[in-house]
Symmetry: C2
Subunit: 211 residues, 2 copies
DNA sequence: TTAACAAAGTAACAAAAGTTACATTGCTAG
DNA sequence: CTAGCAATGTAACTTTTGTTACTTTGTTAA
């Protein structure tokens, strides 16, 4: 079953031989929407390969404030956890399934072993790291240079792309939480967007008209 | 000469055989304070190994606003440039020598070649990436959760650690630039810190008393 | 010694974001 | 069909940050 899933989603990415190896040692898991995959402080000794769905990665400081960083999608892996299993260091991020998702987990020991054996794995690891660094840079960009209204609009349009649906099922409170601001601020700005005909507001639901 | 430098700074990190390889293909460079090493959009096909000094890595958006991300020090490499040489992607960051520094440059092709051959290189690359991701996370933390006064104080104390000197030779304008805020805001907060006996202000110079 | 200039100080105001408090609305379980 | 409740709307206010404009202070080169 894993073999079929891999061939479906990773056929161009990995060599046949590597797909066989992953089939041997990988474990497949379906996760439900809102399921917690990885919490802060976890010692995570598996490499996740996302087959389908979306995982929201967020970061929390010592005071308990939280901010959403980025989403993992099909073809992604969570490089930020690569450090968790190897050394004594523990996860600094949280991963929650945004929608029902399918994941294959690979034991962390294979990370290095396969770096030696498979060119496609070397590319995958390096690419994954580079993509993740880019995403972090984008998050920094957003925080450093954008005002709240721009950040919020980016949040909405990014989510539309991830969910592949112009209707977002979420609450103002949840958005505020993801952006580390207050519900009132979000409601105020969303109302502005609605007046500007960029979105349409409903209870528990936002239609994004322009994106 | 490179061999001696490497043995001095990277003896525990790299296997002897790898040090020989680096000696063969690496080029040594001394850079002066304020020298630009890597600019936005550059196609950078070298891996830098920092031997001494400090390189300030900063990020600029399309509008020209800039923000300092972190410093590279002895033992560090700039993983964020690993992507620049390989694909068509170009540098999204800028690197400027904060003080006189010594660097060895390695051709980017060696990145993958040595992943296969040397365990110490695999560890170095993975560790470097993980460290960089951590630093990025810290930058996000600072931007998302801290008020300007805390951010500024962190800026000062971080710099004291990097420079190994409690006296910082800088201007309010330069700090404002690094933090993407205005000079007036920085001056105002610094004056507060001085009143709180945390620092002492001079022209072009700040003494950090508590850190 | 002093003109010139960069750096720093500061007041006054504007804009953005956060907070409090309460009203209104829409959904759902009984 | 309605009580209860979570979600949303909104006003009023505070705090933080940014901006403008002008003054004062060191430093340096002529």
């Amino acid at each position: 079953m894993i073999r079929e899933k891999l061939k479906e989603y990773y056929n161009v990415v990995f060599e046949d031989e590597l797909i066989e190896e992953i089939t041997k040692v990988g474990t497949f898991k379906k996760v439900r929407e809102n399921e917690l995959l990885l919490d802060l402080g976890d010692k995570f000794d598996k490499i996740p390969l996302i087959l389908s769905g979306a995982i929201k990665i967020s970061h929390e400081n010592t005071k308990g404030d939280e901010i959403a960083l980025y989403f993992l999608e099909r073809g992604d892996t969570c490089t930020i956890t690569f450090g968790c299993g190897l050394q004594t260091s523990k996860s600094k991020v949280r991963g929650v399934a945004e929608v029902d998702s399918e994941i294959i987990f690979i034991p962390i020991e294979k990370l290095e072993e396969w770096l030696v054996k498979y060119k496609s794995w070397r590319n995958f690891v390096i690419d994954s790291y580079n993509i993740r660094l880019s995403e972090m840079l984008e998050a920094i960009d957003t925080l450093a240079f954008m005002k709240m209204d721009q950040r919020l609009y980016k949040y909405l349009t990014d989510k539309v792309k991830i969910m592949r649906d112009t209707t977002l099922f979420t609450t103002h409170q949840e958005i505020a939480h993801d952006m580390n601001t207050s519900r009132v601020v979000v409601s105020r700005l969303l109302k502005q967007f609605e007046n500007d005909k960029k979105i349409k507001l409903h209870r528990n639901r936002i239609e994004v008209l322009e994106y």
